[in-house]
């Protein structure tokens, strides 16, 4: 019997298991969760012959190191970083064979923030509501990796990957997010609406999987007071009392009481996974482009 599992040797700053998340349960207060950069998670899965929904590892800034108990194929994508097997450099963004007991080290990122590590067979922790994703807001799904964690692996598909290498977008030097105004743009002054789509913000170091926080000009409200709690979507740009917009990412709360000035186009969200603190950020009005 083969022992299909990964032993975590170095968990890294924050490494979680992610798949496509658990949409469809927001009415119970369950965030959708899932990989912040879904296209990259699907791509590294494809490189190792997994279906796109297989669970991968999402690393943060300084990678991780794991030791498979049986031979596996892995692929590392997302933020560019050095990758090694037993100390020997191997390819990033391409399938790599790792023999049983060898040490796969995913190094610190050269740029960007999050790495995606696919392993043939996929990470096979027990699903919760149909997903293996770690949700850092609600605590659903497996805990973030710790040194010594053992992660079960699934059975690899009996197909070979059709791609050897695949182009991946470089981490953005400037993040440009197209937005559709509303639903609560009328809660802000006309000046705030102009500021929002004309000035440059910077990505705040307080950003996480729940939200991309920003530093920059505060947005003034035209309507004071509290908004009764209402449902929130992925990509909603919520403006808390400090006036700095927050873009809701995968682990966002399902309801919220601060007004949403606009919603980011879904195609622009994966890039937020790689926006390091300090990255310039502009919101542009989709209706004007």
């Amino acid at each position: 019997m083969t022992d299909r599992a990964l032993v975590v040797v170095r968990a890294g700053a924050l490494t979680t298991v992610q798949d496509r998340g658990r949409p469809g349960h927001a009415h119970l207060g369950v965030p959708r969760s899932g990989a912040l950069d879904g296209p990259t998670a699907a791509l590294v899965n494809r490189l190792v012959g997994n279906p796109p929904e297989a669970a991968v590892l999402e690393t943060t800034v300084n990678g991780c190191a794991v030791r498979p108990r049986s031979a596996v194929t892995v692929a590392v994508g997302g933020a560019p970083c050095p990758v090694s097997v037993d100390g020997r450099p191997v390819a990033w963004g391409a399938p790599v064979r790792v023999s049983a007991g060898a040490l796969l080290d995913v190094g610190a990122v050269a740029s960007g923030v999050r790495g995606y590590v696919a392993v043939s067979g996929g990470i096979a922790v027990e699903p919760v509501l149909g997903s293996r994703s770690t949700d850092l807001l609600s605590g659903l799904g497996p805990a973030p990796l710790a040194d010594g964690t053992v992660l079960p692996l699934g059975t690899p598909a009996d197909v070979h990957a059709r791609v050897d290498v695949a182009p991946q977008p470089a981490p953005p030097a400037e993040l440009v997010l197209r937005v559709t105004p509303g639903p609560r743009d009328d809660w802000f002054t006309p000046e705030a609406l102009r500021t929002f789509t004309s000035r440059t913000y910077r990505v705040s170091s307080a950003s996480n999987r729940i939200g991309l926080r920003t530093e920059g000009p505060a947005l003034d409200r035209a309507v004071p007071g509290e908004l009764p709690s209402e449902g929130m979507v992925l990509g909603a740009v919520q403006v808390p009392p400090d006036g700095r917009p927050v873009v809701f990412l995968a682990d966002h709360p399902t309801t919220g009481g601060y007004p949403v000035i606009a919603v980011v186009h879904p195609h622009d969200l994966p890039a937020t996974a790689q926006a390091a603190p300090g990255t310039p950020l502009r919101f542009i009005n989709k209706r004007h482009h």
């Binding site: 207060g29 919760v128 609600s138 009764p228 709690s229 209402e230 449902g231 979507v233 980011v264 186009h265």
Partner: protein, 205 residues
Amino acid sequence: MRALPVGDSALLVEVSSGHEAQALHADLLRRRAEGLLTVREIVPAARTVLLDGLDDPARLASELTASEVPPAPPRARDAIEIPVRYDGPDLAEVAAHWGVPEQEAARIHADAEFTVAFCGFAPGFGYLTGLPRRYNVPRRATPRTAVPAGSVALAGPYTGVYPRSSPGGWQLIGRTDAVLWDHARVPAALLSPGTRVRFVPVDGS
């Protein structure tokens, strides 16, 4: 009824009261069950229902804004009973706010029939309405860093039960052993929007 676009594939439907939001939510669920509506999420809240994952939100928006808020559905399901020991650390404060003795505050709460207006904050956390408006209470000035799981709590017009230990600013009036959330159970959530609830007093330990 107002339908506000939320990005390219969602609508936030706004009505004028919590009751209307509950009625609209029930009607949208019925339409989805009958195959008349294709949508990924239907998320009721205080005065709104969010529809996320729509193919043609503009069409649904014009359809909804041209129609009246549907009448409240008949109450078909039996109420879920949640046993409560009314011995919470804020019971005295809530009773004082209501101008009644503690025992009477517990009785008032246990006599009301509640409905889960919506969920949020944490998986399985319901915002329950049912107390008359005169019993609204403010949140605590300073939230607690850890509210124990099973705490029965009040804030504004709502009653809630903490599914797990978490920070919280609600007024704690009691505890229950009921399991509000168990992801291995089907359904995982004891309470979902529209569920009717009664709190049944049990003797404290």
